[in-house]
Subunit: 333 residues, 2 copies
DNA sequence: CTGAAAGCGCTTACAG
DNA sequence: CTGAAAGCGCTTACAG
């Protein structure tokens, strides 16, 4: 013992907040020295129970994190989170115990178990709005990786700036002389799809062009190519996973890419494409999204912090060889 | 309330052990119903503090888990652990906060933070013996992925059965007619290398052949090929990472594989080889090692459990095209 | 500036 | 078979 009370030790360790009470410098040093000698470290479990911080942030995923099948969807996000967690001196608690029978975060013991952590990062393509509502209602610090909307309230998130990136890509096509540029979606009803569509419309509107959207639906990709040509499209901006199949379908029909049809890819797919293509388009800043999501959670734990709750992270636009100026109409087959 | 005390609820939830006290069936049902209605779930933090279980198992790695650089070394192990964790209804706490300055588990607050978890799985090529000693001394439930030895005491582990697998591969070469089969190590001083060497020696001894081991050291791989030929070796069993370079060096010297030299690979490397080769050798059961490590930890938490503390998991031996019967000496260049 | 005391939500001997 | 009470190791009002 350094001759002080438990209270004082706690105060020394937990630092000095704004108008918090300070411990005498001399006493503080005495405590610090004793800590060094004894190798004392606070029991995080007790800290947590007593209302303090556990320095643990939960990671809740709506799908298994390490499935051989799903490739490495979560990998880059986790890499960012791990790096940031290390920097911040916190640990990550993986909530993997959501089994087949579970129905999300709200049900059962899941939400309760979250409380071990100071906050939580959520990831997953298929989130459940009721989970977000509940988290918001409980005032539990969290952040989603990717933009998510809730029925009411502000969902904190670290999202890719899909709108801006798509706008930039479409503008590039327009600048090359394309007049008929289509947006092609693989699926709909997701925030990321909406964001891309917004950027697309913005670019088209500012150039006075008519926006036209094609949805894949359940049809074969080949039909999509036919539809694009039937509409006299000279360029298409395509969601990440659909770009490669669309290009192959076009080549299959004897078209040249970008000669007959320019294709820009709106994001890089989770799994690397079997045949590498030098795409024009943009990349999703997955790693940085992970970093930022963690920062947003931690920001909510720090009173004076001014970290934005909803942040958009710029995507890197890349110039490849799948986009070229449109051919004169005569040249098209 | 169901009209019972906190004690009773706790008893109902924590199940009935061996000679533990039982709660009246009628009362238990009443409690269960109330739990269902209210959606009650015990606070794991409090459970943990009170000496109960937190249903959290820590994962401590000696290198970052999600580095883009290191490929996916940990991925298959984690996949197994995640699957098993899900099955067991527990969560995984990633101890990622070991930064640059940290010096292992024992130092600083790391060991203390482990206590949030009921037990811990350790992974990493460069473990620290003092960590194992300390964990053993504290009687903290843990398991290593891969065989590890400590100064004293039994280190629980889930290891690949390298010795058996190597023995099987070498025996296969001997059965094909090879008389001079070399063991080639990329590095030394690791348990996994020792295990392979043991299997190699066993197979050679039982066939009455002289075991010869070549260590790469800091020399170029080409020298190794020369040394193998100078010693009239017709086959080599090679550690996972060295197999591909050795084969290339042999091809470079105008040799044929397996014509002039049979090469068997002792394990599959962490990162897929750039040029796929149809190797003869064995595969490391990484996924299953993760599963078993978790089972070993959980076994220590269950009084009557008879899970082996040290388990070896069989490797899959595969027949490829890098091994063939030895050529008559005349045919060798 | 410092300490005694209550309380976080459980589990577990200990009495009935 | 059941409950009152202590205690896990902290934090944080509340008094001095």
């Amino acid at each position: 013992m350094a001759g002080v009370s438990q209270t004082t030790v706690s105060l020394v360790l937990n630092g000095t907040g704004s108008r918090q009470r300070r411990v005498g410098e001399e006493v503080a040093n005495r405590v610090l020295r004793a800590i060094e000698v004894t190798g004392y470290a606070a029991n995080p479990v007790a800290q947590s129970l007593a209302g303090g911080r556990s320095s643990i942030v939960g990671v809740y995923t709506y799908e298994p994190v390490f499935p051989a099948s799903a490739g490495n969807f979560y990998h880059p996000f986790l890499e960012g989170m791990e790096t940031e967690a290390q920097r911040l001196g916190i640990d990550l608690l993986l909530f993997t115990s959501m089994g087949e029978g579970e129905t999300g975060l709200v049900s059962g013991t899941r939400l309760r178990r979250l409380q071990v952590a100071d906050g939580c990062v959520l990831l997953g393509r298929h989130s459940r709005p009721e989970d977000l509502d509940e988290l918001l209602r409980q005032d539990f610090p969290f952040a989603f990786v990717g933009r998510r909307a809730a029925h009411r309230g502000t969902v904190p998130f670290a999202a890719a700036a899909y709108a801006d990136a798509t706008e930039a890509v479409v503008r590039r096509l327009l600048d090359l002389g394309h007049r008929r540029v289509a947006l092609v979606n693989g699926f709909t009803g997701h925030e990321s799809v909406e964001d891309r569509a917004r950027g697309y419309r913005r670019a088209m509107a500012s150039a006075g062009r008519q926006p036209v959207t094609f949805d894949l639906g359940d049809n074969p990709v080949g039909d999509l190519v036919d539809a694009l040509l039937a509409s006299d499209m000279t360029a298409a901006v395509v969601s990440a996973d659909l770009a490669a199949p669309l290009r192959l379908a076009a080549l299959d029909r004897g078209l040249e890419v970008p000669g007959d049809l320019s294709i820009a890819r709106l994001g890089d797919p989770e799994t690397p494409e079997p045949v590498p293509v030098d795409w024009t388009g943009f990349l999703i800043p997955r790693r940085e999204m992970g970093v930022r999501a963690l920062q947003i959670v931690m920001g909510q734990l720090t009173p004076g912090d001014d970290t934005e709750l909803q942040t958009y992270i710029p995507c890197t636009v890349v110039d490849g060889t799948t986009v070229a100026p449109p051919q004169p109409a005569a040249g098209r087959r």
